[in-house]
Symmetry: C2
Subunit: 219 residues, 2 copies
DNA sequence: CTTCACGTTGACCGACCGGTCATCTATGAA
DNA sequence: TTCATAGATGACCGGTCGGTCAACGTGAAG
C-alpha cells in the first residue's frame, strides 16, 4: 500500500514537473556534455556551464551534488545516445558482421567531420578524452568509462564471432581482437584529433579489419 | 669578431652558471613533466610544480614566460629522452624490422608496468594525454605534438619499408600503415590506462604486426 | 670599485574555482 | 487555507589559479 501510494506520488510529480525539472536538468547536461567534449573536464567551469545553460548556480547544485556527479551523468547520457545512435546502426544485426566495422569507421568519420565543419576543431571521442584526462585521478569515473568501453568492445566481439560462424574469417581470439579493434578506433581518433584532420579516420580506419589476435591454444 | 666575442661570453656564462641556472630550470622541467604525465596539464598548478621543485614562483617565471611555454619545453624534453631512449633502442637498425615492432610494444609495456608498480596508476603516454587534453585549445601545442607523432610514425615507416625490401612482408602502403601502427599503439595505451592494467598492452600489442593498409594503386 | 646582468625572493594581483546557503516562489495535497 | 516540497535565486565562502613586480644577492667584466 505504501508502495503504491509512493508510486502514484512519484508519477504525478514526474508528470507535473517534467517540463520544469527535466528541462533544466537536461539543459545543464547537454551544455556540459558539449563543453566537456569540445574542450576538457578541468577546463570547463561550472559557472560557464550555468551561464550557457541559463541556469543559476544554486539550481545546478540542486540537480548535481558535485562536478564529479555531473561528469558521471554526462558519461551516462552520452553512452545512451551513443548506444541508441550510430553504434546501434553500425552494429545492426542485419548487416554482415564485417560490414559493421566499415560502418562504424564511417560513422566516426562523418561525426567528426561534421563537428569540425561546425566549429573548426575535431573534438575526438568524449570517452577517450575523459579517460586520458581523469582516469589517474578518479577511480569512479575511470570505472564508468571502463564499462562504456567494455560495452563497445562487446559489439566488436559479437560481430567477430558471427563472422567466424559464417566462415567469413578463420577462427581467432575474438575477445582480444575486439578489444584491439576498439583500441585502434580510439587511436585513430586520437591521431586525427591531434592532426585536426578527420580524413585520418577515413585513411587509417579500414585497417581495422586486418587486426587479428590468434587463439592462445589453437589445438 | 663580434660573433666570436659573443660566443666566448655565452660559453663562459654557460660554464659558470650551469650548476645554478641549469639545475633550477632542469628541476622545474622534470618536476613538471612528472606531474603532467601522472595527472594532467590543467590539473597541475604552477605553485605545486614550484613547491615540489623547491623553486620560487618568481624564479619559475624567470625561466618560463608562461605555463604554455613550460608545456612546450616539457614536450621537447620528453621527446628528446624518448628519441634517445627506448625508441632508439626499439628501432635499432641492427634489429630485424619486424622485431622492432615487438620491441616497441615490450618497451611500452615495461615502462607502464614500472610506473604502475611505483605509484599504482598507469600514466599512459604523455603525448597522447596532452594531445587529447589541449589540442582543441592550443594550436601551437597541438602542432608540436603533431611533430612528435610524425617523427614516431617515421620510425614505423622506415621499419616497414625495410621489411618489404627484405621480402619479409608483401608490399603495402607503408606510410599509412605506419600511421595506423602508431594510432594502434596510442590506442592500446589509452585502453590500458583506462583499465589501469598494463597487461592490456602485452595482450593486444602483438596485433600491431597484423595491421595492414594496401597500396592505393598497386598497378 | 663600479657596473651590469642573472638569478632569486616572496608579497601581491584580479579573476576564477567548486561549492554553500538563506530566502523566495510555485504547485499540488489534505 | 494550510502545509510540504521542488525548484530558482544570487550573494557569498575560502581557496587557488596564472601571472606580476620591486627589491635584493651575487659574481664576473671593465
Amino acid at each position: 500500500m505504501i508502495k503504491i501510494a509512493l508510486d502514484l506520488t512519484d508519477r504525478s510529480i514526474i508528470l507535473h514537473t517534467m517540463n520544469a525539472e527535466h528541462d533544466t536538468r537536461t539543459r545543464i547536461l547537454s551544455t556540459a556534455r558539449e563543453l566537456f567534449h569540445g574542450r576538457s573536464y578541468a577546463d570547463v567551469g561550472i559557472k560557464e556551464i550555468c551561464d550557457l545553460a541559463k541556469v543559476q548556480k544554486g539550481s545546478f547544485y540542486h540537480f548535481f551534488p558535485s562536478k564529479q556527479d555531473l561528469a558521471m551523468a554526462v558519461i551516462d547520457d552520452m553512452a545512451d545516445d551513443w548506444a541508441h545512435g550510430f553504434v546501434a546502426e553500425a552494429f545492426d544485426q542485419n548487416l554482415p558482421p564485417l560490414e559493421r566495422l566499415d560502418y562504424m569507421i564511417d560513422a566516426a568519420y562523418y561525426w567528426q567531420k561534421a563537428a569540425k565543419d561546425i566549429d573548426g576543431r575535431m573534438p575526438g571521442c568524449l570517452f577517450g578524452n575523459l579517460a586520458l584526462e581523469i582516469s589517474t585521478r578518479d577511480d569512479v569515473l575511470r570505472a564508468k568509462l571502463n564499462a562504456v568501453f567494455d560495452k563497445a568492445s562487446k559489439r566488436f566481439h559479437e560481430a567477430l564471432d558471427q563472422a567466424v560462424e559464417l566462415g567469413e574469417i578463420p577462427p581467432l581470439d575474438s575477445e582480444a581482437t575486439a578489444a584491439a579493434m576498439l583500441a585502434f578506433l580510439e587511436g585513430i581518433i586520437l591521431l586525427a584529433k591531434t592532426r585536426n584532420n578527420p580524413e585520418v579516420i577515413r585513411d587509417l580506419g579500414p585497417a581495422i579489419k586486418t587486426l587479428r589476435i590468434e587463439l592462445a591454444h589453437p589445438n
